[in-house]
Symmetry: C2
Subunit: 329 residues, 2 copies
């Protein structure tokens, strides 16, 4: 399953996170459902930013966080995503390179859309509410793909947040065709944006057509993608359509179903829950890195749980501890 | 001592901190003396940034950190400093406003120098090595001063890092004249850049001329500013020139000398030493906020020690805990 060159190539949002704490009243006042992700226009983003507290900035993006995690655990990772030629774009590119993630997507010319940012509000219960102003990130087009790189990666990993806008969706569909032509696996992480009517049907068609080999979703998303109202039924319904299904359940742990085998694991213990931003991203990082090492399904799940536990014990969605030592693959 | 409008107005560098961890070998390889601050050209900064690890960004600047601390403790604070009209400048301005610090210095037009940044490398022993690319920050000029604001503030607080470049130094000298004309106190925090030959003589002349009412320095800087080689002698020499002298000594605590009275206090205890960036800045914030509340000299010192302890127990130089509750002024 390993490739000499590249374990995992991801396509996703290239954005900088702007993280501040807030109380529940702030979310209510700004009509932001806790735990959700909404897209903001530049004007909406400016208004919310003006109202929110003093922030810290770190490179973000769901699939980019996952690649940061893969690299931190010793995997060979690459990323495709659209930045602009501006200060936030330079920060995003620097952090990818500093982590050892190959990232060569040319920036949009300056004076066009700025690099995307995600205003993340963390409440005292450690829940994150994300408000994304995608900017350049949604301008990703198929001509930004490096076909040879896609062919070289054992796994192509696609981010659900990019399934919404037509341009990036087209790029991802093209990438799936290239990966499958090269005999590679395609992993897809569902997001709320995949679950919106219209997009959901298109996504369901891709699954039916065999476009997805490995599907990551959380429990809520699983229910939104299936007709079942109980967990066992929903798992069975989706597992019939994808060779490998991985469902994260927050503090309740995670489940994988593969070739008729189902494994449930508990969440990894953490000292203090600080900020759940990036939990799913790092779970996927651990699972995929372990998978590329050829370990068994239970170990893949457990590695995901360890990586997720690290990320939720501090602010921000990029690893801070020595993940490689923690997962000991 | 309190003003109905404003407790403290600071003039200082307006920069964004870019914080990454590194090992001792990295400092040696790049010829960076640990614990120092050096100025980098844009090209040098780009080269160091390319070599350093994945970073987090927070608004910084020594005096700006101090004003963030004053506001966090409930003081009325304002800041004058030069940003550019770019993404990092917007981050800096947002964070000042979000903290309740008045900040109205108009940005430089875009296309000129960018907003300054400080590449901060934190070694495992929690020492910070700072590499500043000042950009727009050193373009501060006297015409950016708001004379009415200076007259309204009980204390004018000046940052030694801006004593180097001629333009900002001229602005600070003009501000001192305005503050003294209005019967206000002038506080000055020494930095390494004040201690360089040439600058040191000019600074000594300002002190001799009564330009400084309250001087903050660390022990090293005190020795560089005096002819004495023992602490008691150095304190006596400098205390003869400034009405209030405050010397910080890291883990050895702090000393204040005022009207012939000398008070020594120990450092405040901390759970874990993580990053000493901002220790002096926040010490000054606590001292000045307490001073504006009219408490005694020992309480001013202790408040400084509590604020410094908070800042060195996490990454970054802006307060994260509820400082107002911690200092209970």
């Amino acid at each position: 399953m390993t490739s000499p060159g590249l374990d995992i190539l991801a396509i996703g949002d290239a954005i900088v996170d702007v993280i501040a704490t807030c109380d529940e009243a702030f979310l209510a006042e700004h009509d932001l459902p806790k735990g959700s992700m909404q897209l903001l226009s530049p004007r909406q983003a400016d208004a919310l930013y003006a109202a929110m507290g003093s922030a810290r900035e770190t490179s973000g993006g769901s699939a980019a966080n996952t690649m940061a995690g893969v690299a931190a655990m010793g995997g060979q990772a690459a990323f495709i995503g659209q930045i602009a030629d501006d200060q936030l774009g330079k920060i995003f590119a620097h952090d990818m390179h500093a982590l050892g993630v190959a990232f060569d997507t040319p920036p949009l010319a300056s004076g066009t859309l700025p690099t995307g940012r995600c205003l993340i509000l963390v409440t005292p219960d450690a829940q994150r509410t994300m408000n994304t102003c995608p900017g350049a990130s949604h301008e990703l087009r198929a001509d930004a793909l490096d076909e040879a790189q896609i062919r070289a990666a054992s796994i192509l990993y696609l981010e659900g947040y990019l399934w919404g806008p037509a341009g990036p969706r087209g790029a991802m569909e093209r990438a799936v065709a290239i990966a499958h032509d090269a005999g590679r696996q395609v992993a897809f992480t569902v997001s709320e944006s995949v679950c919106i009517a219209g997009r959901k049907e298109g996504f369901a068609r891709m699954i039916e057509a065999g476009g997805v080999d490995l599907l990551f979703a959380n429990e809520d998303e699983l229910f939104q993608m299936t007709a079942s109202s109980d967990l066992d039924g929903a798992l069975a319904e989706m597992a019939a359509k994808v060779p490998t299904l991985v469902i994260t359940r927050g503090p309740a742990g995670a489940i994988a179903v593969e070739r008729g085998q189902r494994i449930d694991i508990p969440a990894a213990p953490i000292p203090t829950l600080v900020d759940t931003t990036g939990a799913g991203d790092l779970f996927a990082a651990g699972f995929l890195t372990a998978r590329c090492r050829g370990v068994g399904l239970a170990r893949q799940l457990r590695t995901g749980a360890i990586a997720a536990a690290e990320i939720i014990s501090h602010f921000g969605a990029r690893p801070e501890a020595d993940l490689k030592a923690m997962v000991a693959l």
